[in-house]
Amino acid sequence: MRDRPFLEWDWVLDHLAEIRAATLEHLRLTVIAVVLGVVLAAALSAVALRWRRTLAPIAWVTGVIYTIPSLALFTFLVPIFGLGSTVAAEIALVGYTLLILIRNIVAGVDGVDPAVRDAADGMGYGRWHRLVAVELPLAVPAIIAGIRIAAVTTVGLVTVTGLIGLGGYGSFIDAGLKRQFPTQIVLGGGLSVIMATVIDVALVGLERLLTPWRRSPTQPLAEPEPLAGVLG
């Protein structure tokens, strides 16, 4: 292995179809995990926000899940669902996203200015209407921050699913290790980093799209006041 170059471009060019398939598979596993994670986290957050007492147990359970080593969890699920099972992979992947997503959704909603919430109540919003129309839009920055961390983490974790027989970049790393072939290892790791970065940037773009009100406000027309905190 020591004798071989870090990255053999010939091999890469010969296996473009395989790389493309692995990329799609990696993306599929990531997107399913993040989307399901967001849906489940939203539901659990809604429960936690409505009945505050459930927040601590929900946070505790998702926290425990988060501490389980991924390799151990994947291999534990394989006997139940079989090798190469998407279900097994997704159960673990979704489980890992929950803690960060729920924390950020709850913190985002809790972080809404109490005056804004009071105004919404005073205007005659119902509880759920207020959540959907006022609190969630204002929590978008915190929620997207959570999704970014969850997505980037998931891209990394999906490489581990290669070890339980799923495609994606993990299968390159797995094969590279077995064959003592650095190119496959570098390719699997490198592409995984690139995918994480691209998804992260895309989510930043999404946040900007969803929060036009946060874009550098122009100076007030009259009665100028310091814009501290806005310009920073």
Binding site: A115, G124, L138, W213, L221, A222, E225
Partner: protein, 406 residues
């Protein structure tokens, strides 16, 4: 006796609305001041209202009964812990009373669904509480949208409100963060008025803006109220704000104890308790003078002659009033003043070259300003003119003192 000096006294109309007290509303007169409010006029009635927060030994509001007359601005004032904000929030049920009954327009607030009740009551809070993620236009349109007005109607109403509260139309497409505190507060008022509710609740609306902007916003509220005649309940800890803005002031002590309830001038004239007296602070007479107007001082006819009066008559009038000058009238119009020196060579008062009065006020000028004018005038008299030159009479320090006794 000195001659009339030209002094720096501007007509009160040029100084802006702030010092004018409350023009447009009937000036309080001796007879109806503090009179009980008749039942038909009540917009909001608090009947033995009580609020205890769980886990707190003392009641936030013990037993408060208060009738808020329709179309008036009522200020709830008191130290912190007096339950003024709690009381306000019980009206739109942001806080549920523990006991008693609250009626808005004769309807028990508990008989309506919370959101229905609140959509029918305007609500303005400190720091405006605008929705940061919505444009100014969308913020103003909040309640009409909740009420499912159609788009054209909402648009028309937003345009109307922008004009009403004096906002720049250019701001409509912006987000609240781009606005100054004063502008945000104007948007807050426009949002509260959007569905044209008869009742407006304002919770310390101006405590977060600097004093200059606050004074502006207060003047704007007075001007707005003169046009709209809403029933406004305003919570403030600032007694001067209450005196400036309110038709009726309710002074509350800790536990929602109603210490006194009446027009500001009445409170200043006769505080009901040592608590009220200390809460009102110093210079009560001077502050009351800011509320009463020249008309309350009953201007007297004074030393005046008609422009056609012969010189002999002019001298007689001067003697009768023990002055060395007289005002010259052209029918109802005041042409100015003349003195002995101007009479030389003239046959009538009008021919003596009347010069305009420097010390003049309007019937709606606050007594405090009139007093200022009078003490700066060499003659110790202010001429009262309506619409520029229509003569209403003259006021002296004695007239003002008598008005204060009434």
């Amino acid at each position: 006796m000195g001659r009339l000096r030209a002094i720096e006294t501007r007509p009160s109309g040029a100084t802006g609305g702030g010092l004018l007290g409350r023009p447009g509303l009937p000036a309080p007169t001796g007879a109806d001041r503090g009179a009980p409010i008749t039942a038909g006029d009540v917009a909001i009635r608090l009947d033995h209202v009580e609020k205890r927060f769980p886990g707190s030994g003392r009641a936030a509001v013990e037993d408060l009964s208060l009738d808020i007359p329709a179309g008036q601005l009522v200020a709830l004032v008191g130290p912190s812990g007096c339950g003024k904000t709690t009381t306000l929030r019980m009206i739109n049920r942001l806080i549920e009373p523990s006991g008693g009954r609250i009626e808005v327009d004769g309807v028990d607030v508990r008989s309506l669904a919370e959101h229905e009740l609140r959509r029918g009551i305007g609500y303005v809070i400190q720091q405006a509480g605008l929705f940061p993620h919505r444009t100014i236009a969308d913020n103003i349109a909040t309640v009409p949208k909740l009420l499912r007005w159609d788009r054209a109607r909402i648009r028309a109403r937003v345009d109307e409100l922008v004009e009403l509260v004096g906002l720049d139309e250019e701001l409509l497409g912006r987000y609240p963060a781009a606005l100054s505190g004063g502008q945000q507060q104007r948007v807050g008022v426009a949002r509260a008025l959007a569905a044209d509710p008869p009742v407006l609740l304002m919770d310390e609306p101006y405590s977060a803006v600097d004093p200059i902007v606050r004074a502006h916003l207060q003047d704007e509220l007075l001007a707005l109220q003169r046009r709209l005649h809403k029933t406004v309940v305003l919570v403030t800890h600032d007694i001067d704000e209450a005196i400036k803005l309110a038709d009726q002031v309710a002074i509350l002590d800790v536990g929602g104890v109603l210490e006194q309830y009446g027009p500001p001038a009445e409170l200043l004239r006769a505080p009901a308790s040592p608590f009220v007296e200390s809460f009102l602070g110093r210079e009560r007479a001077l502050r009351r003078m800011a509320l009463l107007t020249v008309a309350d001082a009953h201007p007297q006819r004074g030393a005046v002659v008609d422009a056609t009066a012969p010189v002999d008559e002019v001298r007689q009038v001067m003697q009768a009033h023990r002055t060395d000058w007289v005002g010259v009238l052209d029918g109802q119009r005041m042409r100015g003043w003349i003195d002995e020196a101007s009479l030389a060579g003239a046959r009538t008062a009008g021919a003596a070259g009347p010069r305009p009065f420097a010390a003049w006020v309007q019937p709606e000028t606050a007594l405090r300003e009139a007093l200022d004018t009078i003490v700066q005038s060499a003659t110790r008299v202010a001429v009262v003119l309506r619409d520029g030159d229509l003569y209403e009479g003259m006021v002296t320090i004695d007239d003002i003192a008598r008005a204060m006794e009434r």
